[in-house]
Amino acid sequence: MAGSSLIDMEIDTSADSQLQFQEFPASNVPGPVAELDVRSSHTLTFNHSPDTPGSDTEGPESELLRDGPQKPSPSFWTFEFYQKLFDVDTQTVVDRILWSMIPRPGHSYLQHHIRPKPDLYGPFWICTTLIFAIAISGNLANYLQTAGKDFHWKYNFRVVTYAASAVYSYAWITPMVLWAYLRWCGGQEARLGFLEMMCVYGYSLSIYIPVSILWLIEVDWLQWLILGVGAALSGSVLLMTAWPAVQKTHRLPVLAAVLGLHLLLAAGFMLCFFHAPHTSLTTTTTPQPAAVVSVSVSSTSAAAQPQPQH
């Protein structure tokens, strides 16, 4: 071979057999031979129902594949994926908000309102509106509590950051945890997709917006009553959504946890931002550890120097 002086190849003849093609004699195999006949046309049908174990497609995608033309759903990283999640009209959003507040026992909120197209418009903007509703009403409530007294009131912007962390974590983490739990420990009857879960949770927070405005009325028992009614209404919608998906044995603790967290969120807001302080006026009523630390730190520094008068 010309030019083979450049390449020094050593062929190991002992390993020859490893490099040989293995030959299968054509007709030596006794017995029936399985053959795939590729000439006849085969139609492969696959059962794409979401109930089969091991199927990991989410609700909306599987329904799209069943009904509509076979379009590949866009990847998570493209803009079109998110555009699909915002494919709603005003009337749809209004309907979803209304029915998240009014439980109808035989009528599954999920099936009728969310199922074909869950959206992220509602949850995101409801959460954002809720944060600012709580912040604005909370500041207003604080002002009304201290009005008329000899106290220079300054508004508290930190309410926004506290409310934002609470609302966004509730709206994200709780559906994620519940979805994960239902996926791995729950029943097989009704699978709930993650987007649907987030959608239901987001819309269920919508009742707290008028509730937070009503909390401005500074009557103790009325505030608790409004809280109870609000949490009961939207919590029951949440419960009825999660009910069929939970296995019978674990039903009670899981549903109690769902309702309990819902109630806890609202109670937290009420106690932190709206409840009239029974102690002195200068301490804020937030039991948040950050505020407590800052109050204790500043009390030592303020004691050391005279406070400036405004």
């Binding site: 555009q83 005003t90 600012f132 912007f157």
Partner: protein, 222 residues
């Protein structure tokens, strides 16, 4: 090889005996070499003044909306930056008295609210099927902060006097006015590209955005 003004430059191929001449003319471009380099050589004042004029024209069109397209056609982010910085400097709370209510937002929080708010409102509009570009949207939302900034300035002036209910109501009126002008301006420019079934979905975040900023304006009391 020849440049636009007809100067003849010796090319490499001329050594081989061939000579190439021609004129390269670009429509609407400055015809001479010197004119093209003008913006590099011009005094800084001219450069600065050109940008200031562009920003000023847009401010004018926010307040007197006769030709709204100008905000979309040549967008820039100078106006939003100026307004946002100015508002943030005035709105930030004092940090000396921590025993009482903590006061207003920090400088960075106002920045975050304005810019992240503009980004989310723009994303929302685009996801719902809008046809304006991302930066055009941010530009319009930022420029329409001008009415709220003016309201803030007026409130600040009112706050010089010792406060009573009438002055508070006056401040409230000024702020509400700023909110209405800002949201109306932004919604007429940005709301056009959407079908009527979704218009409310697009306009609501714009209202929320200006509402929050107006709340910051009215709550500023120190």
């Amino acid at each position: 090889m020849a440049c636009g003004d007809g100067r003849h430059v010796r090319s490499a191929y001329e050594d081989l005996g061939a000579s190439q001449t021609g004129n390269i003319t670009i429509p609407n471009a400055p015809t001479s070499q010197e004119e093209r380099l003008d913006t590099l050589d011009e005094p800084i004042f001219d450069t600065f003044w050109r940008d200031v004029k562009a920003v000023g024209i847009k401010f004018f069109h926010v307040l007197y909306p006769k030709n709204k397209e100008i905000l979309l056609k040549d967008w820039d982010l100078w106006g939003p930056l100026l307004l946002c910085t100015f508002m943030a400097l005035i709105l930030r709370g004092s940090s000396d008295n921590i025993m009482e209510n903590d006061g207003g937002p920090e400088l960075a929080q106002v920045f975050l609210i304005v810019w992240i708010g503009s980004i989310f409102v723009t994303l929302n509009s685009k996801l719902l099927g809008g046809n304006t570009s991302f930066f055009q949207n941010v530009c319009v939302l930022g420029y329409c902060l001008l009415p709220t900034t003016l309201a803030l300035i007026i409130c600040r002036v009112i706050l010089i006097y010792s406060q009573n209910t009438i002055l508070f109501l006056l401040r409230l009126l000024v702020t509400i006015n700023g909110f209405i002008v800002a949201s109306y301006g932004a919604s007429t420019i940005l709301g056009n590209g959407h079908p009527s079934e979704r218009k409310a979905l697009v306009l609501y975040p714009i209202f929320l955005f200006y509402f929050v900023i107006s709340w910051l304006v009215i709550s500023h009391t120190s």
